[in-house]
């Protein structure tokens, strides 16, 4: 902003100087004439010229030497300045910016690649963790199955053992009960027979008869 103000002030000074130059040039020794052209015409007339000479303009196709000289110098200075200082400085700034943008893009690309690599690694690790957890869960499930199977087998064995034992106990009890029942039935039968037929047979004969009778009944049942 300050530079712009400086430029404006410089421009105003130049303009003021220009106006000053114009007035100075216009005022130079011409107090008796309306303007410089009138003065020029008056000189021409005083030197024997005519009004046509006053209207005659310099040939516009012939370059004025002073304009050619200053124009050449001014252009060569402009060219030299732009060639050696102006353009290289501006282009250096543009190149520096391009380089910085390129570097930033490269850095961003490198960071993106790194982030992508890290993401891939994380995804791989996550997949490994999932696989591992699945494996562990499977192993645990298998172990649990094995334990369950073992316990089940043991329980079945125990049950079978208990069942066998219970069956044996029941069989023994049954045999005992049958034996006891036989004895009691025998005794009852004998007692009953004794009551019926009196004393006609001895005890051993009676027992044998009853036993035979019961076996016959058991075989038939």
């Amino acid at each position: 902003m300050q530079r712009i103000r400086l430029l404006v002030v410089a421009g105003a000074i130049v303009l003021a100087a220009t106006v000053g130059f114009s007035h100075t040039a216009g005022a130079e020794g011409e107090s008796n004439y309306k303007d410089s052209f009138t003065e020029e015409c008056a000189h021409l007339l005083s030197e024997g010229g005519t009004l046509d000479d006053c209207q005659e303009a310099p040939n516009p196709l012939v370059p004025a030497p002073h304009e050619l000289l200053y124009g050449t110098l001014a252009f060569l200075i402009v060219f030299g300045f732009l060639w050696k200082m102006g353009m290289p400085a501006i282009k250096a700034g543009m190149a520096a910016r391009s380089d910085k943008i390129k570097d930033d893009l490269d850095a961003a690309e490198a960071e993106r690649t790194e982030a992508s690599t890290i993401l891939t690694e994380y995804q791989a690790q996550l997949a490994d963790a999932r696989t591992e957890s699945a494996r562990i869960i499977e192993e645990a499930r298998q172990a649990a199955d094995e334990v369950r199977s073992g316990l089940q087998a043991k329980a079945e064995a125990d049950i079978n053992e208990l069942k066998t034992k219970a069956t044996a106990d029941i069989e023994a009890a049954k045999l005992q009960a049958v034996a006891d029942l036989r004895g009691e039935v025998t005794a009852l039968a004998i007692g009953a027979a004794e009551q019926v037929v009196g004393r006609n047979l001895d005890a051993e004969t009676n027992a044998a008869l009853v036993e035979a009778y019961i076996n016959q009944v058991g075989a038939n049942s």
Binding site: T18, P60, P63, H66, F75, I90, G93, M94, R97
Partner: protein, 253 residues
């Protein structure tokens, strides 16, 4: 009422000297040269010193100008081999444009290119440069390169070679000069015409003042138009220089 005096042509563009005599006379045209020189040096000097990542102000103007010359003129006319001519073309464009634009800057109001000295010097300089570049590129074969267009039947060469010689070696610098000079002079005469007419009509009576609004509005319009012309003529002059250089250094023949 309408008998306004129109100044002679020489008086429109032939400025008296502020100081100095002969070849060192310093007049308004020379002042325009100096102002154009100062503007280029100040603007592009400051533009080159600032190297912000996001360009603003003068840095932006400087970079836009460089891009415009390199991409809009050099690459369009010559391609990559023309990059080494970019400083010359940039100097041409900026100097011509700044000297043109002073045609509408109040108080100064004189396009330096409306005087033949500057266009003639620049066109002759361009002439030397593009023919020099041609000889440097092709050696003496450049003469054939310049005078014998490809594909022309041998029988027609008798006609074509003299035409090409006159066109490229004799007329081209003058057409290059006159295109810029005449356009700027015509624009300046147009502004002076409407300015003089407005000044003559305004304040000399109610009717004349009302009629004087017409040339005044025309003056405003043509002043704005001259902004475009100033740029366009600088661009055309620079573009043609690029085209001429390219025609001289190309190997398409």
């Amino acid at each position: 009422m309408f008998a306004t005096e129109f100044p002679p042509l020489g008086h429109i563009v032939n400025w008296p000297g502020f100081f100095g005599d002969g070849a060192f006379e310093f007049n308004k045209v020379v002042l325009v040269y100096v102002l154009a020189l100062l503007m280029v040096v100040i603007i592009f000097g400051l533009a080159g010193r600032k190297k912000a990542l996001v360009p603003t102000g003068l840095q932006n103007i400087g970079e836009m100008a460089v891009d415009f010359i390199e991409d809009g003129i050099v690459m369009d006319t010559m391609g990559e081999p023309g990059k080494k001519y970019a400083p010359f073309l940039m100097a041409l464009f900026l100097f011509v444009w700044f000297t043109n634009i002073f045609g509408i800057i109040p108080v100064i109001q004189m396009p330096a290119s409306a005087r033949i000295a500057l266009p003639l010097f620049l066109a002759l300089l361009a002439y030397v440069i593009y023919h020099g570049a041609g000889f440097k590129e092709h050696g003496l074969g450049y003469i054939k390169h310049a005078l014998v267009p490809p594909g022309v039947p041998v029988a027609l060469l008798v006609l074509v070679v003299p035409i090409e010689f006159i066109s490229k070696f004799l007329v081209q610098p003058f057409s290059h000069t006159v295109r810029l000079f005449a356009n700027m002079l015509a624009g300046h005469i147009l502004l002076v015409t409407f300015g003089v007419l407005t000044g003559a009509l305004m304040g000399t009576g109610i009717l004349a003042s009302v009629v004087g609004l017409l040339p005044f509005f025309a003056l405003v319009f043509f002043t704005a138009f001259e902004v475009l012309v100033a740029f366009l003529q600088a661009y055309v002059f620079t573009l043609l220089t690029g085209v001429y250089i390219n025609a001289a250094i190309s190997h398409e023949h």
